[in-house]
Amino acid sequence: MKRILSRVAALTLSLGALSVGGVALAEAPTPQYGGVLSAILNPEPPNLNVALQQVAVTQLVAGKVYESLLTYSFDLKPQPSLAKSWEVSPDQLTYTFHLQPNVSWHDGKPFSADDVVFTYTKVLANTPRTRTLMANVESVTAPDPQTVVFRLKQPYSAFLHAFDIGGGAILPKHLYDVDTPITQNPHNNAPVGTGPFKFKHWERGSYIELVKNPAYWKEGRPYLDGITYRVIPDAASRRLALEQGAVQQAWLQDIEPIDQQRLAKLPHIGETKKGYEYWSTMLWIELNGGREPFSDKRFRQALMYGLNRDFIAEKIMYGTGTVATGPIHHNTRFYDANVKRYPYDPKKAIALLDEMGLKPDKDGVRARVGLIPSPYGEMSRRTAEYIKQNLGKIGVQVTIENADVGGWTTRMGNWDFDMAYNGVFQYGDPAIGVSRTYVSSNIKKGLPFTNTSQYSNPKVDELFNAAAQAPTEEERQKLYTEVQQILVEDVPLLWIADTNYSVFHNKRLHNVVTTGLGVVDTQSDAWLSKE
């Protein structure tokens, strides 16, 4: 009955629309060409070469200009992008990619397999993000202009999951195969790619303008005439700009969590939680395992029991995060919820500290530690303040040490911290985005976003390595389940929350998010309806 009613409603609506003179259907409106999308860009990216720089904002802009071989669906299955199709040899050592035909660079030069080989062997093999992938690769060759073949040294089961825009943007060989060092190439700030939008102008501190690429290889795309990214540093102005329709799209933490619920209630604003599956950022408090008392597992467990993470998820993140259970985000592959739990239990925390022999001094303090909040946004500050308050109750006195982006990454990289707020992308597969934080081979002083908590456990190393090479999904799941159980018992760092971000958009903007990469993807399907 309900269905019939909705049919009738749909029919009336579409009739109504027809009678007004439109052609729109009520349920799936036909895309319209034209219109320029204005989107929020915050903060301003350092440069636009996504092969060198993976901060989210660089990916957001560069994801329209450059393309990678693959993209990923909401359930993280590989989808065609610059690669039309691909084959895997039975021994899982040879991956053959067939490229899209008739692709050209924005400057008119034809795109070919040589560009892919050049990008992977000369550029990506040296970037922190793709180096681990390329360590498994023996050779990259182009038997013909439409085909690229990767030969692996050993099976690497996450292989097909590392070809996103952040890890595998293809650069034009004719502009990058030059003597100038890649970091100084002028095209880093004026990118030339194969994507649906061409770079036009970057007014520093104000906006980045992209225009439609009429020669885009995908027939009839893109719908939009262009995208303008507006740099709006102030949170209140961002909310206002979206409310008033000056911009039509916001993502990640563009809108402060506290404003999100209110914004979502507005009739002209749409919200979707989809489009973050591939990133699945986790927020955690990094612990310096090389220092006392963090080297003691009981201390780390005590911190975990002493933190009211539910409060953080509900009252500080306002539902933009759910309490984390362990090292893998619930949207990432091979997540297992069946691990030890750490509910808020200050009594248990104090018992653990007593057991360690950390007795309170005359001020009731058992340990004094520092905490560096992340420099992004108010939320991390509030979280740090709350943690300070929380841990003070179990006798751990926290001093907050503010730092800017540079100070924060350097101090973490150089192990010059006690505790630090951090959030890291998981890139769909634990072999790419999770193991790097826990395996001992990634303890690299000087490099942030490595195993900076200096956690070292041979069993964990072994399990992560075995899982990366295991041939079937079932075997990988078994190994990852075991590794999750060990890590949650050991608490190398304090997992606070699995983020659950939203994309906010004006309802005039359609097809905002179509893949697991969300608004970072090319958005060649996005379109604006008329006002």
Binding site: I258, R262, R381, A384, Y386, K388, Q389, N402
Partner: protein
């Protein structure tokens, strides 16, 4: 002294200012008794408007008591302002005194040094200093002191230059008093009145500077100052006015009172000038 008090009391604004400052100082001292818990303590539900459920001034985004924040903040804000003013008075007076007393090359060098600071916009200098030195109570005090001493140094220098040719100073020189003794016991006491006046105004501007730094998130992250409370709540200004308004009123009243006191002091200490103004 009696004359001074009498002259000061004629200025009604000044008296009001003193009363407000005493009230704020009293609040700072009594913070422990009025609010037995820490200002960072979460005592209630977040976003409680004022006058509800035994929170007089409401709670902030995490449920911390705004009233407690203001009381404890008074302590820190006043302390910060007083210490940084003391530091810059100490430095500014010594520099100005040496420059004005010795004159010549010394004076030229010192004036050049002062101008170096005066050409840089003071607030930006403070922001840069705090950002480089990592924010903490000491660095904030240091930054405020560094940007506020130059005008005072100029003032003292001018006083010294005019006083050093007066008869009583020359008499002291002839009597064989050492330079240090002349500076400290002869000239300095006679040039103190403008220092006191500008000192009271410097406390006010130190409070404003500190609040601006904290508002930008460059204050000591472990210190609940007034500027911090406003800065932390500015993103919710449209939904929760009380979080920013009450500490804002606290800053306004304190700074206004300090300015009124400064004016009254000026009138009381420079009676000639004051009389001219009233007639």
């Amino acid at each position: 002294m009696k004359d001074f008090l009498h002259a000061f009391c004629r200025h009604k604004g000044g008296v009001a200012g003193v009363i407000v400052i005493i009230a704020v100082a009293g609040l700072a001292l009594a913070a422990n008794w009025i609010f037995p818990h820490d200002p960072w303590e979460i005592v209630n539900a977040p976003f409680m408007p004022p006058m509800t459920d035994d929170t007089l001034l409401g709670t902030d985004t995490l449920g911390r008591d705004i009233g407690a924040g203001i009381a404890y903040g008074a302590r820190l804000t006043l302390l910060l302002a007083a210490v940084s003013t003391a530091v810059s008075i100490l430095f500014g007076v010594s520099v100005g005194a040496i420059s004005g007393f010795y004159g010549g090359r010394v004076d030229q060098a010192v004036v050049g040094f002062i101008e170096l600071f005066q050409t840089i916009p003071s607030f930006f200098l403070a922001v840069v200093l705090v950002a480089i030195l990592t924010p903490s109570m000491t660095t904030v005090i240091f930054a405020i002191a560094v940007v506020s001493w130059p005008p005072l140094a100029r003032l003292v220098r001018a006083e010294f230059m005019s006083l050093k040719n007066r008869e009583f100073v020359q008499a002291a020189m002839l009597a064989g008093q050492s330079n240090a003794r002349i500076i400290l016991t002869q000239i300095l006491p006679n040039s103190l009145s403008p220092v006191i006046v500008s000192g009271s105004l410097m406390v006010a501007s130190a409070i404003l500077l500190e609040s601006a730094l904290s508002f930008l998130g460059l204050g000591d992250p472990n210190a609940m100052t007034w500027g911090y409370i406003i800065g932390a709540s500015r993103s919710v200004l449209r939904d929760a006015w009380w979080m920013s308004v009450f500490p804002g009123v606290a800053i306004l009243l304190t700074v206004l009172s300090l300015n009124l006191i400064g004016e009254a002091l000026n009138d009381a200490l420079n009676p000639k000038l004051a009389r001219k103004r009233t007639t």
